[in-house]
Symmetry: C2
Subunit: 297 residues, 2 copies
Amino acid sequence: MRIDVDAFKVLEVLVEEGSFAKAAERLHKAQSAVSYQIKKLEQHLGVNLFCRDQYRAELTPEGKVILAEGQRLLQYLANIEHLASRFSEGWEPKLELVIDGALPMEPIMKALKRMAAHQIPTKIQLNMEFLGGVQARFERDNADLMLVKDYRTGPNYRPQSLPDITSILVVAASHPLAVEENISLFELQRHVELTIEDSSPEISYQDELQFGGDKVFYLSGFIMKKNALEMGLGFGWMPDFLIHDELKRGELVEVDFSGGSRHSFTPKLVSTMERPLGKAGRLFTELIMEEFDRAEL
Amino acid sequence: MRIDVDAFKVLEVLVEEGSFAKAAERLHKAQSAVSYQIKKLEQHLGVNLFCRDQYRAELTPEGKVILAEGQRLLQYLANIEHLASRFSEGWEPKLELVIDGALPMEPIMKALKRMAAHQIPTKIQLNMEFLGGVQARFERDNADLMLVKDYRTGPNYRPQSLPDITSILVVAASHPLAVEENISLFELQRHVELTIEDSSPEISYQDELQFGGDKVFYLSGFIMKKNALEMGLGFGWMPDFLIHDELKRGELVEVDFSGGSRHSFTPKLVSTMERPLGKAGRLFTELIMEEFDRAEL
DNA sequence: ACATACCATCTATTTTATAGATTAACTCAC
DNA sequence: GTGAGTTAATCTATAAAATAGATGGTATGT
């Protein structure tokens, strides 16, 4: 038979009260029950916790150590119970998020920071993907939420719109396209297009914003894409919030494409009815909406 | 009623085996007992650990977290049991040592280091005192062992001798006493004597190696005493192992006192029969003897 | 469709925890 | 000292809990 953790509680109270009878009273038990529990604990551990030579039983040095360890054990057990109570309140044990690298990180990070401040029991996993990779991962991992630029609608998806984001077709000021006017698609296709590499494992649906030229560079993430643009490697779409400063300083300029150099999209926060959100998921939804709205001002 | 930690063990085996029946078999219990335990745990925590929709009951995400936490709890409990078993093997929970600052620290530290390597459950407390302070603390704190230069014998003391250590009466090379020959006690008393301050709370027995002059500086520890000597503040006794290099380099020189400039004493390792040593105390005794013998070579 | 495996549930039984009473050893006040 | 009052172990009866064994409904696979 395994040890009874209850005995550690009895031990604790017994030491606090300093007497078997008082401890029994505080524990709403008979004095004999306390004696029995302590004796059982001593037998189980093979250690004398109390020295019975004196009139009042006195804790041995070994007993002191066992008491301290037992208290830590009880503490740990209480933590588990607390954790469980949070679960039964509706907090999910894990919240898995997939976010699109094309979206601004600042409001996302702010929302996560505020989540952490709530002392919630939920473990949060955050994955960043690009283009079709976002949805691919959402489906493969059975994630709880995806924050995505655009997605193929599924059977039970519940999307919520976030404030619009504008992409701008830009190029370095030093690039030939920077000075041309009313550029045709044909002309555009003669230059190198910079694109984010789709992070999905299989061939995914093509981004509707590609121009179909044969000179396409695939980059892994917007930081690299921005670098490549600044170095004049080619032209490409960038979310406006990422290049605000560069446009202002004139390092990057908008391409005067006849088909339009601005494109706005509506990021979506998507969950699925197959995996309804728990408390943490709903809290995150609320916070992320707030942060995106605030960022827009 | 408090939670039954046994249930965590059942949970662990159940998850490993993947079936209530198999788990019951491994635990030498009936299948119903396993069902009962798990149901009780779920009720107690207020959390569904298993999803019974499928044919085979499957662990819920909450269950996974509870399982992991439960395993840590069991680990902790096992640690306590191990600790207790070490106690019942004769390892005392605490070993309190008092050492004399006049003794070489190196073998003591080496012995302690080797103690630590033994993975023993005993907590070790080490206190350094000077002169009468060593014994005062040994008695006041009911310590287990004292390593002392000399002591007043008590009723039930069990001393063991360590290899002799020599003290030398030294002074800085720049000090007037450094060049005098065949110095009388009277001459010596005209100069400042440097002494370690007795660390006992009450007035203790006077160190037999004091000269009775009126110019005495009391210092707290041999590091300060050595500094004071080097700076030519006065003369004083120093254990040879502490000033070996300084003598060699001629920074400190032996005083040519007519009454003798060398004095050897036998450090003692003392315990009392009122508090017999446990395993850790005996191990320390063994190691410290070894280290002192080794240091002598 | 049949044999098999899975797990909840029921009942009887064993095991364990507890209360209440008793006793021996001890303290303290007088 | 002596007697009243504590303290804690021990004993016995009882209440509570864990367990075994049996049963039944459901899912699996061949």
